[in-house]
Amino acid sequence: MDEIQKTLLEQIAGLHEVPSGAYNIRANGGMAARNTTANIDIVTKEDKSGIDIMIKPGTKHESVHIPVVLSQSGLKEMVYNDFYVGDDCDVVIVAGCGIHNGGDEASKHDGIHRFFVGKNSKVKYVEKHYGSGDGKGERMMNPTTEIELGENSYMELETVQIRGIDSTDRMTKGKLMKGAKLVINEKLMTHGNQYAKTAFEIDLDGEGSSTNVVSRSVAKDNSKQIFLAKINGNNKCAGHSECDAIIMDNAKISAIREINANCVDAELIHEAAIGKIAGEQIIKLMTLGLTEEEAEAQIVNGFLR
C-alpha cells in the first residue's frame, strides 16, 4: 500500500499498522491483505465482488477489520460483504471506506453489508467514511446495511462521515427477533456542495425487541441533507428515533420520520430538531476568550463527538 492509502486507513479505521485479529484490507478494487483466525474466517465470494465473514458460535472478544481504500481516480466498485455471526458471540467489527481522489473523474464505492446475527450475541459495528484529494472528481459512497438480529441479540452501529464525501445515499435496514436490541448512532457533517441522504427502516418483529436510532448532524455551506427514519412496531416492542441537526450558512436539512404501530403494545417515539447554533453558546465561549469562529468550531466538534 502507498502513503495515501495508509493515511486513508488511519482515518477510517484508526490503523497505523496491520491490526491484530482477523482482517481484510481492500485497496483499489483488490485484496491488499487478509488474516483469518481460528474463530473468524474470511472467504472471497465467487459469484460477485466481496467477501463472506464467518464468525463461529461462542467467539468472544475478537475483532474483524475490513477497511476499503480507493486512491485511483475514476474507480467505481460495488462490493457485497456478508457477516454470519453465530450464537453467543461478543465481537467488534470495524469497516469503513476512504477515498482519495486527486483526479477529475468521479470515484465511487457502493457497498452492501448484510449481517446475520445468531441468538444471544453482542456485536459492535463501526463504520467510518472519509474523503480527501483536491481533484475535481466527485467522491461518492452509497452504503447499504441490512441487519437481522436473532433472539436476545444486541447490536450497536456507529457510523461516522465527517469530511470529504461529495455524495452519499445510505440505507440501513433492521429486522429484529424476540428480545433483540439495535442501537444506531450516526454522526454526519456535510460541507461545500455535498449531498447526503440517510435512511433507516427498522422492523421490530419480535416480542420485547427494541431500537434506538440517534442521528446527529451538521450541515455547512451549500450542502444538503435528508434523513428518513421509519420504525415498524409489529409486536410488543419499543422504538425511539431522534434526529438532532445544526444548520449553518446556506445549507438545507430535511428530517422525515415515520413510525408505524401494528400492535397495541408497540411503543414508538420519534423526535427531530433542526436549528442553528444558539447565539448564547457562541457568546459564552467568546467570554472565555475564543473568537466567534473558534467558538463555532468547538460547538460543532462537541456536537459530533
Binding site: 446527529r216 438532532d244 444558539a278 448564547e280 453558546q281 457568546i283 459564552k284 465561549l285 467568546m286 467570554t287 472565555l288 476568550g289 475564543l290 473568537t291 466567534e292 468547538q298 460547538i299 466538534n301 462537541g302 456536537f303 459530533l304 463527538r305
Partner: protein, 251 residues
C-alpha cells in the same frame, strides 16, 4: 480600573425607543469588590452586558485600564482580562465540564487541575469532570460549574450576574468563600449583581441601580443599613416586583 463615562443604552420596541441605561458614570478601582443591587428591570444585567461587550452602548465610553474598549468585541475584552458569569448558564450538547474548564483556563491544564476548580465550588470533581454541560445537569450544578470557569480564568475583573440564584444554602456559604478568596488572596476586582445581604455585606462598595440610573453609591457599611432599614435605598428596592425583595441572611 474600569470606567464608564456617560454610558446610555436604548432599545427599540413597538412602543418606541426605551432607555434601559441612562447616562451612567461609574469608576471601579483595581482590586475592588463592588456589589450592584436594585429592583428587577432596573438595568443591572444590561450594565453587566455592556461591560463584557455582549451589548454595545448607544452612547458613551467604557475604559478598561485606561484603554477605550467601547467598540471592542467580547473576545477582545475577555483576552484583556474581563470575565463574565451568566445569570442563566448556557448548556451545550457534547461539551464536557472538563472541556469548558480547560477552555476557560486558556491552557491545556491537567484533569487534576480542572478538578481543583470544581472542588472550589463544592462539586465532587470525579462525578462531574466527564459529564456533558447539558440538560442532565440541574440549574444549581450548572451555576456552580459556571463559577468554576470564572475561577479557572483568574482574570483581573470578574462580573457575576446573580451568582446566588438557584444555589442551595450550603453551597451559598462556600460561594461567599470563593468570592472572598478571589478578592483578598488573589487581589482581583469583582462586580457582583446580587440581592443577597451576605454578598452585599462582604463588598467594599454597593451601587444601587434603579430605572437605568445610579441611585446610590457608597461603602457597604453605609449603604447596607439604609437598604436593610428601609431608609432611602430600600424604598428603591420596594418599587420593584416581589422577586426583587431583599433577602436577609435568616431567610
Amino acid at each position: 480600573m474600569l470606567e464608564l463615562i456617560d454610558v446610555s443604552f436604548e432599545v427599540e420596541d413597538i412602543s418606541g425607543t426605551k432607555e434601559i441605561i441612562k447616562h451612567i458614570n461609574l469608576k471601579i478601582d483595581d482590586k475592588k469588590f463592588v456589589a450592584i443591587t436594585g429592583p428587577n428591570g432596573g438595568g443591572k444585567s444590561t450594565l453587566a452586558k455592556l461591560i463584557v461587550g455582549i451589548e454595545k452602548p448607544t452612547s458613551g465610553k467604557i475604559l478598561f485600564n485606561g484603554e477605550d474598549i467601547t467598540d471592542m468585541s467580547i473576545t477582545q475584552r475577555a483576552k484583556m482580562g474581563i470575565s463574565y458569569a451568566f445569570q442563566q448558564p448556557v448548556r451545550f450538547k457534547g461539551i464536557k465540564v472538563k472541556d469548558l474548564v480547560k477552555l476557560a483556563s486558556g491552557e491545556n491544564i491537567s484533569v487534576s487541575s480542572a478538578c481543583d476548580f470544581l472542588s472550589e465550588v463544592g462539586l465532587c470533581a470525579r462525578d462531574y469532570i466527564n459529564r456533558d454541560v447539558d440538560s442532565s445537569l440541574s440549574g444549581g450544578e450548572l451555576k456552580r460549574i459556571e463559577i468554576a470557569t470564572i475561577i479557572a480564568r483568574n482574570t483581573e475583573l470578574s462580573v457575576f450576574d446573580e451568582p446566588e440564584a438557584g444555589i442551595d444554602l450550603w453551597s451559598f456559604k462556600n460561594l461567599i468563600k470563593v468570592f472572598e478568596k478571589m478578592h483578598k488572596e488573589n487581589q482581583k476586582s469583582i462586580i457582583i449583581i446580587s440581592h443577597q445581604e451576605r454578598i452585599l455585606n462582604i463588598a467594599d462598595e454597593i451601587i444601587v441601580i434603579s430605572g437605568g440610573n445610579i441611585e446610590t453609591v457608597g461603602k457597604s457599611e453605609e449603604v447596607l443599613p439604609m437598604l436593610l432599614n428601609g431608609v432611602d435605598g430600600a424604598s428603591l428596592l420596594r418599587r420593584g416586583t416581589e422577586g426583587c425583595k431583599f433577602h436577609s441572611e435568616e431567610e
